[in-house]
Structure formats: C-alpha cells, structure tokens
Amino acid sequence: MRFLLIEDNANLASAVAERLQLDGHAVDHAGTLDDAENCIAAADYDLILLDIMRPDGDGRTFLQSHRRAAKSTPIIVTTARSEVSDRVSLLDLGADDYITKPFDFSELEARCRAVLRRRGGVAANRLTVANAVLDSTAGELQIDGVGQTLRNRELRLLEVFFTSPGQVFSKSYLLDRLFSFSEDVGENAIEVYVGRIRKRLEPSDAIIETVRGLGYRLVARP
C-alpha cells in the first residue's frame, strides 16, 4: 500500500515510515499541511495517516476541506487524545477511522484494510503466484477463478509469502508478523497457520515448502 504520513514530529514520522516499509509499504512523509497538499496533488495514495494535533493549524480543518473537496483517499487519524468524545467528533468530521498513539502496527494495518474494504471501489491489491491470486483488500484467495474468503491471520501469512515468492521466512519472523506483542505464543503456533494456508492452496499450483532448519517458502509447483 502507498501511505501519505502527515506528521510534524520528524522522529515519529521516520520511525513509523520505517516500520511500515518493513512490511513492504511505500510511505511519503509530509511535515506540514502544505506539503501534504502538494503530495496529494502529485501522487495517488491508498491511505492518508493524519496527525490531528498540529502546530500549523488544526488537522480537523484539513479533514473537513479534504472531505469537502470530495477526495476519495481514506484518512485514518492518529491522535494522542483518547477520550471517546474526541473520537466521536473525529468520525463526524469525516475521518474513516482513528487510532490512538502509540499504536500497534498490526492493528493499524488491520484498520487500514478494514477501511479500504469498507470503501470498496479501490483498485484491488492483487498478488499472483502460479494460478493463485491473493486479493488482500478483499481478503480473498482465488484459484482458477474460485474465491475463498480468508481469515485475518491466513491472509496476513499469505501476504508475506505472496509478496516475496521463493524467499525463505523463518518461523520467528512469521511469528512476529502474525501475533501481537501482548500474546505469548511458541514457535509451534506458526505451524498451525502454515498448515491452514497449505490447505487453502491445495487446489493450486503454488505450495508452501518447508526448508529444514530455516523456515518456509512459497514456490510454484514444478
């Protein structure tokens, strides 16, 4: 996905950008609302992450003018305030969702996905390996035109493999991608999910191979 990150704190912006890039997203950073306008004019973004508390004018005004201009790029607001009353007013102003700082990136990704799915109409984000097509926006795996709706973790795991076919991923890496920091799970848990996506991929020519001692990789059946 391509993100526009509107955040005046350079430290936070670089950390967030780096973190999002780790998961294979492209991130442009705008430090000011003017920069943001320029970025929006120059490129198409899947999502805008807007910091609502800004030194250069309230993010709310940006939110409203963005909505008035009927721009379709969804906006997820990042806010340091967590009061319910604040959140409600943000949604009323036209934010698609909000997330409280500091945020869990897997939650942020889940919210982005939910927003994009809700919006619909956005160009599908398709990844293809052999005859298997992963539509991560719709959360669907299509094999020879037959779609299967995926559960969230299956989708995320498949996304990892489909983004870099042939690459070996260690169990511990996959574990990090799949489970949040508040969950204490052993590496064996990953085997359960690998088992599940193998089943999903069964009708296709794509398979998940076990690379002994190293991990797993996605390859097309020879």
């Binding site: 704190n9 430290n11 936070l12 950390a15 967030v16 780096e18 973190r19 780790l22 508390m53 990042t78 340091a80 305030r81 967590s82 009061e83 319910v84 009353s85 409600v88 969702d97 409280t100 700082k101 500091p102 945020f103 869990d104 990136f105 897997s106 939650e107 889940a110 919210r111 996905r113 939910a114 559960r151 969230n152 973790r153 511990s172 890496y173 990090d176 949040s180 920091f181 508040s182 969950e183 204490d184």
Partner: protein
C-alpha cells in the same frame, strides 16, 4: 460573623425579627388602646360628677338669711349606674356642713368659682372619685361661700376598664398573629430571588459555564457579579487545563509512539530470542502505560459526565453496531469473530451516547483481549422487561475473582497477569450503567468457558 445553626437561615432570622417587632407593636397597641379607653371612661365619669355638682349648686336657695338646699333627685339619679356604685355628697356653707356626709374629706386642692377640682382617694373602704365645686350664695346681702362635693365609687369604671382590657388584649393578639403570618410570607417572598438563583445555578450542565443571565434584585447584584466573574475565571482555568491535558497527552504519547515504532523495527531486526523477548517486554510496558493513561482520562470523563447526564434518545441497535464495527479490526487480528444479534425493532434508550458507547467499548475490548484465537464473541441485544446487552466470550473467564471486586477501580481478575490492562474497564462500564439506572452483571458463560458481561437498563 457566625450564627448558631438555627439562625444561620436568613429566612428564620428575618421571620424571628419581624415576629419580635410585631410582638412589641402588639403590646404597645394594647397599652395605647387601654389607656385611651380608660381616660375616656374617666372623663365621662368626671363630666357626670361635675353636672351633678352643678345641679346641686343650682338648687341652693337663700331663705330668710339662711341658705337652704332642696337636694334635686336628678342630681343623684344621673349618677345611677347598673353597678352598685355608691354616691356620697356634702354641701358646706362657710365650712359648716349643711347636708350630706359629714366625714367626706375636703378637697386637697380647693376649687374656685370657675374651676371644679377632682380627686381620687379611698373612702369607706372603696376608691372614690370626687368633684368639688365652689359657689358664692348671698343670703340677706351677706355672701356665703358654699362648697359642694359629690363623690362616687369607681366599681363601674373598673368593670368598663376590665372589658376594655379584654378587648385590647384580643386586638393585640389578633394583630400579633396576622403580623406574624405576614412576616412569614414576607420572609419567604424576600428570599424568592435567592431560591431562583440557586435553581438557575443547580440546573446547569457540567459544561455550561456561561455567565448567569438572571436579573437579580439590586442587593444581590454584587453577589451575582462576583459569581459571574468566578464562572469566567473557572472557564478560563478549565480551558487552560483541558488544553494542558491535551498538550500533555500529545507530548507524552508522541515520543511513546516513536519509541514503540522504533522498538517494533528493532524487534523485527533482532535475531537472538532473548533480545527479542526484552524488546517485546519493552513494547508491552509502553502499551500498558499508554492504556492506563487513556483509561484514566476516560474514567475522569465518565465521572465528570455522570454528574449531570446529557440525554438524548439513542437507537441502541445502531450504537451497538457502530461500536462493534469500530472494534472488529482488533478482533480480526486474533481471528476472533464478533457475532452481533440485534432485534429487528431495536430498543430506544434515553441516555448519554458517549458514556454508553464508552461502556460498551470497554466491555467488548475486554472480551477481545481475553478471547483465545479463532473464538467467537457473542454480542446480543434484547429488549423484553429490560434492555439487555450480553457480551459473551470464550476466554478464560474471571476464575475465582469476586465479581463485585472486579468493578472497583484498578482491580483486575486473579488470572490475567499476562495480559495488558488497567483495571478500569469494568469500573467505567459499571459507573455508566449505574448512572443510567441500570446494572452491570458479570457471570460465567453458561455451558462453556469464558465470561458473560451484561449491561441491563430499565425500559423507559
């Protein structure tokens, strides 16, 4: 100045003072009425006595150089009263008693021809009033000095005075009672503006910090002005602290967010499991602190709002759906499914939308947090005798924890040490429920593991 409790009430004090004044006035009225009436009665007696003396004087004759008196009947009959008043008289000619009671004492203050004198004294066991008149009668060319005294006991007068006293007492008493009743009304009406002001201040919502717009009585103008100045200062200070809290939250959470993002990046890049574990613990500590801060703010907001509920009619079905939609991504991450059951005709409830949403969100948040992977969370809204929202999960339940203790601040279940939490979620939900006349019920999920947390509100 401090007053004992009873007299701290302005109304009581005003009333007591007015009552004391009317008591004094009543006594004064009584004395004046009685005094005037008695003076009038005495003047009447004096007038009759004088007329009697005059009529005796007019009956004096001189015959053959002798002064004679044929005592006219009318002179004494005019003094006749219904009472047993006795009449005494004496006519002296040049100091010699001509007729009458010899022992009737001479007046201390001798009368002149033109001026009668009156005296009051005890005579033959009774108090008497006596008039003395003086005449000069010429007998055979020799002028003789005649002194006529007529006295009457005062029994009649005493009776009249007694009657007058009784009437005066009655008048005074009635005056006192009427004046007291009026004082009560006056005290009440004088204090009505105070009552109205109190009501105007009490009616206000927590966020209403506009100046008072009432027109106070002149005496209360300085007070209202002072109050308005105070409200303005309070508003300024609240705005300042709101800004401060927002600013503080921003200042604290932004670096926390930076740390968390960097920690996640580092965690991803680390290879050694023990290093990864350390980083994981750091991230959890960050989550814990930010979560506590958020919940504390929410709890403060709930406490503040429950003091004076903002109420509107709320479609509970829609509220539940909205809140569930908001939390679905979080459940999704664990492959947990929220199953929402909402009746076709969702119940409406009058309450504070933000508070109710906060309560539902906290309950759902808990359910998601404690749900195992791949499990179901059932959210069921029903409306029969009560409006009831059940949130049932398949998590570890509350173990042996006392369900009432769980509702108290910072108290957490006995079996949750491994999960980030602040111990405020259920407290918030419980306080919201109670503020709306409802209850928060915590039970075991029947027939399975897990917990069932219910919000129950009365039908309106």
């Amino acid at each position: 100045m401090t007053f004992p409790p009873l007299t701290r009430s302005i109304r009581t004090r005003l009333f007591l003072q007015l009552a004391a004044i009317s008591a004094l006035l009543s006594v004064a009225l009584f004395l004046v009425v009685r005094g005037l009436a008695e003076t009038a009665a005495e003047a009447t007696q004096d007038g009759i006595l004088a007329a009697s003396a005059t009529s005796i004087a007019d009956a004096l004759r001189s015959e053959d150089g002798e002064i004679t008196l044929d005592l006219p009947y009318s002179a004494l009959s005019m003094l006749g009263t219904t009472n047993d008043d006795r009449v005494f008289y004496k006519v002296e000619v040049n100091g010699e008693t001509l007729t009458g009671y010899d022992d009737l004492p001479a007046p201390a203050d001798p009368p002149t021809i033109s001026q009668n004198t009156f005296a009051t004294f005890d005579y033959r066991g009774d108090e008497v009033r006596m008039v003395s008149a003086s005449r000069t009668v010429s007998a055979s060319g020799v002028p003789s000095n005649v002194l006529i005294s007529v006295a009457q006991t005062r029994l009649g007068l005493a009776a009249i005075s007694q009657r007058i006293s009784a009437i005066a007492t009655g008048v005074g008493l009635v005056f006192f009672l009427v004046a007291t009743a009026l004082s009560l009304l006056a005290a009440r009406s004088a204090l009505r503006p105070l009552k109205e002001m109190t009501a105007a201040v009490t009616r206000r919502g927590p966020a209403d910090l506009r100046p008072l717009a009432i027109q106070p009585p002149t005496e209360l103008e300085p007070f209202v002005a002072a109050l308005n100045t105070f409200i303005a200062r309070l508003r300024a200070s609240l705005l300042r602290s709101e800004d401060l809290i927002a600013e503080a939250a921003h200042r604290v959470r932004t670096p926390l967010a930076t740390v968390r993002a960097k920690a996640e990046v580092t965690h991803r890049k680390l290879n050694k499991p023990e290093h990864k574990q350390t980083m994981r613990e750091m991230i959890r500590a960050i989550d814990e602190s930010s979560r506590s801060a958020g919940q504390l703010l929410d709890h403060a907001m709930v406490t503040f709002r429950t003091d004076s509920l903002a109420t509107e009619a709320i479609d509970m079905g829609e509220l539940v759906r909205e809140t569930v939609a908001r939390l679905e991504p979080a459940a999704d991450l664990k492959d947990a499914t929220i199953r929402c059951t909402i009746p076709k005709q969702p119940p409406h409830f009058t309450g504070d939308r933000i508070l109710l949403q906060s309560a539902i969100q906290n309950i759902l948040d808990n359910a998601i947090k404690y749900s195992p992977d791949d499990s179901d969370i059932a959210v069921t809204l029903t409306a029969a005798d009560t409006i009831r929202l059940d949130v049932t999960d398949q998590g570890r339940g509350f173990g042996d924890s006392d369900t009432d203790t769980l509702k108290t601040r910072f108290s957490r279940g006995a079996n949750v040490d491994d999960i980030v939490g602040s111990g405020l979620g259920l407290t918030i939900a419980d306080e919201v429920a109670r503020a709306h006349g409802g209850t928060l019920n915590i039970t075991r999920n029947e027939g399975a593991n897990g917990a069932c947390v219910s919000l129950v509100f009365p039908l309106q």
